[in-house]
C-alpha cells in the first residue's frame, strides 16, 4: 500500500489525503478503556471503566474522571499520561479565561481551546498527536453540554456517545436507549448499563468511575454512591 511509506511522518499527507499518524492515534484511543457520556435534561453524566492490571494497585490514588473548573469536568479513553497533560492545560486555560473575561469559561469555549492545543500537535515538528479522546461535560446558564475532542483536533457536541474499546456496540446501545427526557439519575443508570455491555468480569464500585455535571457544578461520585447505583442494576 502506498500509505505505508507515509505513515511515519506526522507532517506529510498520504496520496489519499490522510494523515496516517492521526489515524493511528485514533486506533490508540479505540484500544483504550471504554468511556461513556450522556446528556440528560438536567445534567450530564460521564462514566468510564477503570480496570487495574493488578489488585495491588491503589485505585484511590489516581482518577480518570477529573474536574477542570467548578462547572466543567472530563474523562478520556486512550493513554493516561497524555490525558494528564491535557487536563493540566485545560485547567490553566480555564483560569486564564476567567482572569481576562471575569466569568467562568463557557464549555464550548474551553472545548475550542483544548481542541486547538490538540490540533497544534498534529501540525508541529518533533511531536506526536495526543493518544486520547476527551469527553468534556459542562453546565453554563441552565444548559448542559457534552463534547468529544479527538486527537485530530476535531470536536463534536453529543447527546450521548461512547469511546474506547467496543465503542460501536456502545453507541448502538445508546441509540436505542437514549431519549431527550432522561433525568440525571436515569442517565447514570443507562451509562452504567452501557459500560456493562463490554465489561469483562464483575463490575464493582472500585473498577468504574462516574462523574455528573448539574446546576450545582461538576463532581465525581463517591464509591458509596456508585455502589448504590450498581445495586439498583443487579
Amino acid at each position: 500500500m502506498a500509505e505505508r511509506g507515509y505513515s511515519f511522518s506526522l507532517t506529510t499527507f498520504s496520496p489519499s489525503g490522510k494523515l496516517v499518524q492521526i489515524e493511528y492515534a485514533l486506533s490508540a484511543v479505540a484500544a483504550g478503556a471504554p468511556s461513556v457520556g450522556i446528556k440528560a435534561s438536567n445534567g450530564v453524566v460521564l462514566a468510564t471503566e477503570k480496570k487495574q492490571k493488578s489488585i495491588l494497585y491503589d485505585e484511590t490514588s489516581v482518577h480518570k474522571v477529573e474536574p477542570i473548573t467548578k462547572h466543567i469536568g472530563m474523562v478520556y479513553s486512550g493513554m493516561g499520561p497524555d490525558y494528564r497533560v491535557l487536563l493540566k492545560k485545560a485547567r490553566k486555560l480555564a483560569q486564564q479565561y476567567f482572569l481576562v473575561y471575569q466569568e467562568p469559561i463557557p464549555t464550548a469555549q474551553l472545548v475550542q481551546r483544548i481542541s486547538s492545543v490538540m490540533q497544534e500537535y498534529t501540525q508541529s515538528g518533533g511531536v506526536r498527536p495526543f493518544g486520547v479522546s476527551l469527553l468534556i461535560a459542562g453546565w453554563d446558564d441552565a444548559c448542559p453540554f457534552l463534547f468529544q475532542s479527538d486527537p485530530s483536533g476535531a470536536y463534536f457536541a453529543w447527546k450521548a456517545t461512547a469511546m474506547g474499546k467496543n465503542y460501536m456496540s456502545g453507541k448502538t446501545f445508546l441509540e436505542k436507549r437514549y431519549n431527550m427526557d432522561l433525568e440525571v439519575d436515569d442517565a447514570i443508570h443507562t451509562a452504567i448499563l452501557t459500560l456493562k455491555e463490554s465489561f469483562e468480569g464483575q463490575m464493582t464500585e472500585d473498577n468504574i468511575e462516574v462523574g455528573i455535571c448539574t446546576e450545582t457544578g461538576f463532581r465525581r461520585l463517591t464509591t458509596a454512591e456508585v455502589k448504590d447505583y450498581l445495586a439498583a442494576i443487579v
Binding site: E66, P67, I68, T69, R91, K92, Q95, Q96, F98, L99
Partner: protein
C-alpha cells in the same frame, strides 16, 4: 564612674523633639537634590479577628482618588478560595489583580492536590509575589480563612513581609481600628461578639479617618460556611432633605414682558448626504 544624666520624662501632649532634626535633615537632603520619602496614605480601614469558631474580616467601602471619593461602595473583601478571603488596602488595581491572580493559581493548585487550600499557602504565594516586585505593587492585605488546621489570620505588607496574629488592621484607618481592638479583644470570642468588635473597629476608622468611609462590610468564615455580609452596616446613609426648595410658579411677580425677535438671514445652505446604503 559614668555620671548619670537626668532625663526629663515627656509630660503630656505631642512630642516635638524630632521636628528640629527633621528640618535639618530635609535641608541636607535637599542640598544633594533628593527629597525625604513621603508617607503613602492608603485611604482604607481593613481588619480581621480570630474568634472561637473562625475568622471575621471587616472593611470600609470608600475608594479615594487623592482628595475625592471615587467610589462610595466598593468591595474590599476579595474571594481567594471557598474557605479563604482577603481584604485589600492600597492601590485598588493592585489589590484587585493580585488577589485574583493568587486566587486563580490557588484553584489550579487545589485541583491538582484534590484538597481545600491552606491559608498558609495563600500567604506564601502572596508574599512571594509582592517581594518579587520589591514593594512596587501597593497592596497591603489582611488574609483570613479556615482550613484543616483551624482558623488563620495574616497581615501582608506591600514589600512582602507577613505577620500571623490573632487580630490585625491595615490601611490609613488602621490606628483607629487597632485602638478598638487593643481595648476590647479577647481570646475565643463568640461569633456575635467578634462581629460587633470588628464592626466597631471599622466604624472607628470610618469616622476618624478621612480616607475611610461609607458602609461596613463583614465576612465571617467558619469551618462549614462563609457569610459575606455586604453591607453589614450602612453607617453613612445619605440624608433626606427635610425642606422643598423649589418655588411655585408665580412666586415672583412679573411687572413687564418684552419680546425681541432675532432677524436672522439665511446666508448659505449646504446639504451633506449620509451614505446609508
Amino acid at each position: 564612674m559614668a555620671t548619670l544624666s537626668v532625663c526629663q520624662p515627656p509630660f503630656g501632649g505631642f512630642s516635638f523633639e524630632y521636628c528640629k532634626r527633621n528640618a535639618v535633615l530635609a535641608a541636607e537632603v535637599a542640598k544633594v537634590g533628593c527629597s525625604i520619602p513621603a508617607a503613602r496614605k492608603t485611604g482604607t480601614t481593613i481588619c480581621g479577628v480570630v474568634f472561637k469558631d473562625g475568622i471575621v474580616l471587616g472593611a470600609d467601602t470608600r475608594a479615594t482618588e487623592g482628595m475625592i471619593v471615587a467610589d462610595k461602595n466598593c468591595s474590599k473583601i476579595h474571594y481567594i478560595s471557598p474557605n479563604i478571603y482577603c481584604c485589600g488596602a492600597g492601590t485598588a488595581a493592585d489589590t484587585e489583580m493580585t488577589t485574583q491572580i493568587i486566587s486563580s493559581n490557588l484553584e489550579l493548585h487545589s485541583l491538582s492536590t484534590g484538597r481545600l487550600p491552606l491559608v498558609a499557602t495563600a500567604n506564601r504565594m502572596l508574599k512571594q509575589m509582592l517581594f518579587r516586585y520589591q514593594g512596587h505593587i501597593g497592596a497591603a492585605l489582611v488574609l483570613g480563612g479556615v482550613d484543616c488546621n483551624g482558623p488563620h489570620l495574616y497581615s501582608i505588607y506591600p514589600h512582602g513581609s507577613t505577620d500571623k496574629l490573632p487580630y490585625v488592621t491595615m490601611g490609613s484607618g488602621s490606628l483607629a481600628a487597632m485602638a478598638v481592638f487593643e481595648d476590647r479583644y479577647e481570646q475565643d470570642m463568640e461569633e456575635e461578639d467578634a462581629k460587633r468588635l470588628v464592626r466597631d473597629a471599622i466604624a472607628a476608622g470610618i469616622f476618624n479617618d478621612l480616607g475611610s468611609g461609607s458602609n461596613i462590610d463583614l465576612c465571617v468564615i467558619t469551618k462549614n460556611k462563609v457569610d459575606y455580609l455586604r453591607p453589614h452596616d450602612m453607617a453613612n446613609l445619605k440624608g433626606i432633605r427635610t425642606g422643598n426648595y423649589k418655588y411655585k410658579r408665580g412666586t415672583t411677580g412679573v411687572l413687564l414682558k418684552t419680546v425681541t425677535k432675532l432677524d436672522l438671514e439665511v446666508v448659505e445652505e449646504t446639504v451633506q448626504t449620509m451614505d446609508t446604503s
